[in-house]
Amino acid sequence: MTFLNHFGKYLLMLRDMFTRPENFYMYWKELLRQMNGIGVGSLIIVGVISLFVGAVTALQFAYQLGSTFFPEYLIGYIVRDTMIIELAPTLSGLVLAGKVGSNVAGELGTMRISEQIDALEIMGINPNGYLVLPKISAAVIIIPPLVVLSATLGIFGGYWAAENYGISPTNYQKGLLYLFDPFNVVIMTVKSVIFAFVIASVACYQGFYVKGGALDIGRASTRAVVFGSILVIVFDYIVALVMT
């Protein structure tokens, strides 16, 4: 199938999510279950990675600036802005494209192959509405706060690393407050919402239309991760281009 075919089918999948829920409470429950899976399930991996990335960023800049006459507090400033504008959304996006992408594609693929999706359809339930919509909504709701947390932890990581490197905490803190532009937080939020949508919808598409057997579920998961990651980077560039 050509790219256009896939894209058309993807848009149809998205369109078909929007029918009247058969039962609002059941949809709500499914949304909460997905938010829990995607959000709480990704806390540790995103947290650990963000801490270390913040720390490494601080170290690298401290090292690069070490032999120059730049003031120390710039470290805090640089860590803050790189975390907020680029590293928190993009790294979280990549990590989640792996974790959430494979998880969602695997879950839907298994449901497709073992006819659970057919079973829903026979009951008169719209499987797009009941399965795809809560997953995409959960991602869009829960990933932005996860990215905020990632930025925060990154800044903490930087603080800790900078202190160990011999930079005074007061200078780091001064840097954190230096030239703060709230618009950067808007960029971060826009990125994280777009990434969340892309990751979840691409993974849903890959899983929902699996054909064949167990091996094909694995392939669909892989495709979800590969396409999800590439699209995160592509959209990162597009947002940067449009918003800065």
Binding site: N23, M26, S114, E115, Q116, D118, I122, M123, I125
Partner: protein, 257 residues
């Protein structure tokens, strides 16, 4: 009544169903039999609209199902219960949650009413004490029974069972057959059962459709099937020499040695 007229279904260039015309009445247990790979599952999936027929019409109580939009199909589907050949239980839910799922979606019963309905259905399929287990923790035969309980929990008007007793021991098999037969008569359901279990055929075949190589090779009931002069059907039901001997003794229409 479900009426099927000249139903055809092909995959790519392979024609699986080559024009089937038949009808299934309410309050009767209708069986679809045929060798493995003869297209029973494809047939039933066409009936419920999971597979798009290549041509032909299917009507539910006079409504042309094949001509309905996706949304209109939904309203008929809420009256359909279906057991899949592979059970198709929801992995993420326990046995109890699986059977309760249609009740949660489509009724406004209280939690207590729902639970008692679920337990009633689980009792009828002879499955008590497994409520809190997940599908991965129970046997294939148990999954089948949960699947049946889930299919009948809303008292459907149309019930489709794809091999309800394959993988079950003879005793449980009989129990499931009795259950399907009882509820069919009790609620005047239109029940369609795919099977190649001869006990089921003899025990509850009020209407039997025999599929062979894409055609409806024979149609009748469990009284007529024993006296068939259709050679293909004869070979299908009297697959073993032992059965053929029995039949010879009874003086059937076809004598072979």
């Amino acid at each position: 009544m479900i009426e099927i007229i000249d139903l055809k279904k092909s995959f790519a260039d392979k024609e699986i169903l080559k024009g089937i015309t038949t009808s299934f009445e309410a309050g009767k247990t209708n069986l679809v039999i045929g060798t493995s790979g003869s297209g029973k599952t494809v047939f039933v999936k066409c009936l419920v609209g999971l597979l798009e027929p290549t041509s032909g019409t299917i009507s539910y109580d006079g409504i042309d199902f094949t001509a309905l939009s996706q949304r209109e199909k939904k309203s008929i589907r809420t009256q359909i219960g279906m057991l899949f050949q592979g059970s198709a239980l929801f992995d993420s839910m326990t046995v109890e949650e699986n059977v309760m799922f249609p009740l949660n979606m489509f009724t406004s019963m209280t939690a207590k009413e729902k639970l008692s309905r679920v337990n009633f259905c689980l009792e009828r399929v002879n499955l008590v004490g497994a409520n809190k287990k997940y599908p991965a923790e129970i046997s294939g035969g148990m999954m089948k029974r949960v699947g049946i309980a889930r299919a009948i929990v809303l008292n459907p008007k149309y019930l489709f069972c794809d091999e309800p007793n394959s993988g079950l021991d003879p005793q449980t098999s009989l129990l499931i057959d009795e259950l399907l037969s009882d509820i069919t008569h009790e609620y005047k359901m239109i029940t369609i059962i795919n099977t190649h279990d001869m006990n089921s055929v003899m025990g509850m075949g009020e209407k039997i459709v025999f599929l062979h190589q894409g055609f409806k090779e024979w149609e009748g009931n469990n009284q007529q099937i024993l006296d068939t002069d259709n050679e293909i059907l004869y070979n299908f039901i009297f697959a073993s020499d032992f059965l053929k001997q029995l039949r010879k003794g009874a003086g059937g229409a076809i004598k072979k040695d």
